[in-house]
């Protein structure tokens, strides 16, 4: 799993998510089997459970929203454990929770087994426009630096007694963000000079991406293929 070429993993993730989205909401069994698939891949990739759980936390805001749906949904209601809940809301909550969990789970597998530069390289390989991958690459490269600069400023401000607690005390922070923007812009100019100095003419060169073999494609897409079969079955036969 760790060794698969990034473009294979990116395509596999995309196919898997589409398959999950296409599964009808009544097909509990299909969602459950897809969940087993992802869990199986996680075990195969030897991802630590605690690590996966922490990564899955990004889903929490979505879950909270989904859990509110049964209480505020319209239409006919039903009683569960003494609570009056909307039937449509319950279906909505189930759909969101199931599909989001499966999608986030699959994303965790890919992101945990692929470095960010590799993911960008994979996107490049499947012909995502070079402008977009280049922007993504620059963002990854410079996010740390800009965040670091902002952190140093906060320390410098705190060292001179500025500890904002309320929104109306945020002025200096906003000004600092503004000048950070200017500084980043100036850095962009210097980076561009450095690029031109090394012969940049407007097209990002490729380096070090190797085509994936047929075997790697088959191996990488096998899980997603099972998910597609589940989706097709749940749409056509069982329903």
């Amino acid at each position: 799993m760790h060794r698969l070429p990034p473009q294979v993993k990116v395509v596999a993730l995309l196919v898997f998510v589409i398959a999950v989205v296409l599964m009808p909401r009544e097909a509990f069994w299909a969602h459950a089997l897809a969940g087993c698939l992802i869990a199986g891949v996680m075990i195969l990739a030897e991802l630590p459970a605690g690590f996966v759980a922490r990564r899955m936390l990004v889903e929490v805001p979505i879950l909270i929203f989904a859990l509110l749906l049964p209480f505020f949904g319209q239409g006919p209601t039903t009683r569960v454990l003494g609570l009056t809940l909307s039937v449509e809301g319950l279906w909505g909550a189930w759909t969101i929770i199931a599909k989001a969990t499966l999608g986030v789970g699959a994303s965790v597998v890919v992101s945990a087994t692929t470095t960010i530069p590799d993911i960008i390289r994979g996107l490049d390989r499947i012909r995502v426009p070079r402008v977009i991958t280049a922007i993504a690459g620059f963002m990854v490269r410079y996010l740390d630096i800009v965040a670091g600069e902002f952190a140093r400023r906060r320390v410098a401000m705190a060292s001179r007694g500025y500890e904002p607690r309320w929104l109306w005390q945020g002025g200096p922070l906003a000004q600092s963000a503004g000048s950070l923007f200017i500084r980043s812009y100036e850095r962009g100019e210097r980076v561009h000079q450095a690029m031109v100095a090394r012969g940049f003419t407007g097209r990002m060169p490729t380096y070090g991406d190797r085509p994936a073999s047929l075997r790697q494609w088959v191996l990488g897409l096998s899980v997603s293929a099972v998910a597609v079969v589940l989706a097709v079955l749940s749409v056509t036969v069982i329903r």
């Binding site: 530069p117 210097r190 100095a197 090394r198 012969g199 060169p205 490729t206 380096y207």
Partner: protein
Amino acid sequence: MSEPSLEVAGLFFSYPDGHQALRGVDLHVHHGERVALLGPNGAGKTTLLLHLNGILRPDGGTVRVAGLDVSDEAAMEVRRRVGLVFQDPDDQLFMPTVGQDVAFGPANFGLVGAELEARVAAALGAVSMLDAIDRAPHHLSYGERRRVAIATVLAMMPEILVLDEPTSNLDPASRRELIDVLRALPITQLVVTHDLPFALELCPRALVMDEGSIVAGDDTVDVLSDEILMKAHRLELPYRFDPRGGTGR
């Protein structure tokens, strides 16, 4: 003498805001020489460097790199011949991985495949950073980033390596590693620096620049020993440092 690696004659330049940064710069660097360019802040050193590969264009005067005029037509070839290492390695290293960054230059000049990979490996090997080829630049130490920045231009096989303040912000051990790397490189070098012991150790010849022109140029020991010259151009040796005592060449 043979054709100089770098020849600058009567160079003038003003920024759009009217500030005249270069007022008639003349200098030459011969093949295989290592030359230090000294001078106070604001003397025009960095402005001069940006002229060496045609990023800035002079209002008057010429720059020739190994006999080739820096002009619009020759811009690409000049940029290959002049390896400019910028002061802040974070400006120089912009690709997601070290290997991709080192490949950026030679790939722009048309190298592909195994040849490109060999060039990348050789350049990283020359600065002892081959192990970092798949790492992200922001995960490297500052000294390591500085060395990778040098590799990014070495990979273009330049005629002359031009370094802007290469020892700034380095701890003593990283500075020592950098000196060892630069001394081992068999390539013409022009080094802008405020680190005078570094200039003395690395470069047999030194130029002094102030207010937009070259005001002195001689054996580095003689330049650093000339107290009147040093004082006039805001240069100062470290406390108790005797340039005649340690000719570490």
